[in-house]
């Protein structure tokens, strides 16, 4: 993963200019299903790497294994809202996949709870 020094902005750009510039001024996350723990995963290779920004490419690299939105934000050290916008771009392009939201239970069912219980006991 590239270090923070690779990002074009600096502290002088200010806390607002920085995320604003990274998402080119867009203010709304495009994907309402992107919650804190929504799992995102990059396709093995981006469809058109030349069209992606440095930040997009960093996300593609990070998400070679499935990660939550919150983890991507933490590893990139950018606010959650910025990561949601960048991820929305990648999902739209088909470069990042998430689980079909209609298949994600809103509240864990009994089988899922049992799996979690067994898993926690086993750590």
């Amino acid at each position: 993963m590239a270090g923070r020094e690779d990002w074009w902005y600096d502290e002088a750009a200010g806390p607002l200019v920085r995320p604003y510039a990274m998402v080119r001024g867009r203010t709304r996350p495009l994907r309402p299903e992107l919650h804190l723990v929504t799992q995102v995963r990059a396709m093995p290779s981006p469809s058109d790497p030349d069209a992606l920004s440095v930040e997009h490419m960093e996300i593609m690299e990070l998400c070679r294994r499935p990660l939550s939105v919150a983890e991507v934000a933490a590893y990139l050290d950018v606010p959650l809202v910025v990561v949601k916008v960048l991820l929305s771009d990648l999902i739209q392009r088909g470069d990042v996949v998430i689980r079909d939201p209609s298949r994600v239970p809103q509240v864990p069912d009994r089988n899922l709870l049992q799996a979690v219980l067994d898993g926690v006991r086993g750590i």
Partner: protein, 196 residues
Amino acid sequence: MSVESERPGGELLVPTPVKIVIAGGFGTGKTTMVNSVSEIPPLHTEELLTEAGVGVDDVLGLESKETTTVALDFGRITINPEVVLYLFGTPGQNRFWFMWDELAYGAIGAVILVDTRRLDSSFPSIDFFERRGIPFIIAVNCFEGAHSYEVEEVRRALDVDAAIPLVLCDARDRESAKMVLVSLIQHTMDRLDAMA
């Protein structure tokens, strides 16, 4: 890429996430507990907010000058290749309740950590989860130097229902923190069974 990471047919495996909220007043040991059981050092992220504290839609607009950040600390336990558990500590300041809503959405439930020296600091957390009908348990973090109380004394002082499990723990200890999580998951399963 490993073979296990793909389903038959080449579809990428995207795990199901679940989460547990670790709540409680300031200094009750929330981050300590996350650290004790997480497989990675606790991660830190921030959400940008307008002063109004509603919605994130406009936070990137340069015209909204009064922004603030809410810090979130969280850990992770990979249950199996298809299920991953996240543990989120609640942000301390009460004006960030809407962030608690995001944390509580779809959660297995909450562990409310209690320090017997400051019982009242736990009341807002208890209120929050009670009102929303989200399963929770009380975990009394047994700090050294704190007077030890009987479980029932603490229950009376907190005025929580007898059906809510109340356990003693040491948030620094991995096994102890594990047992707290186990108690919560079992409590959530019991509630599910009772409703069935």
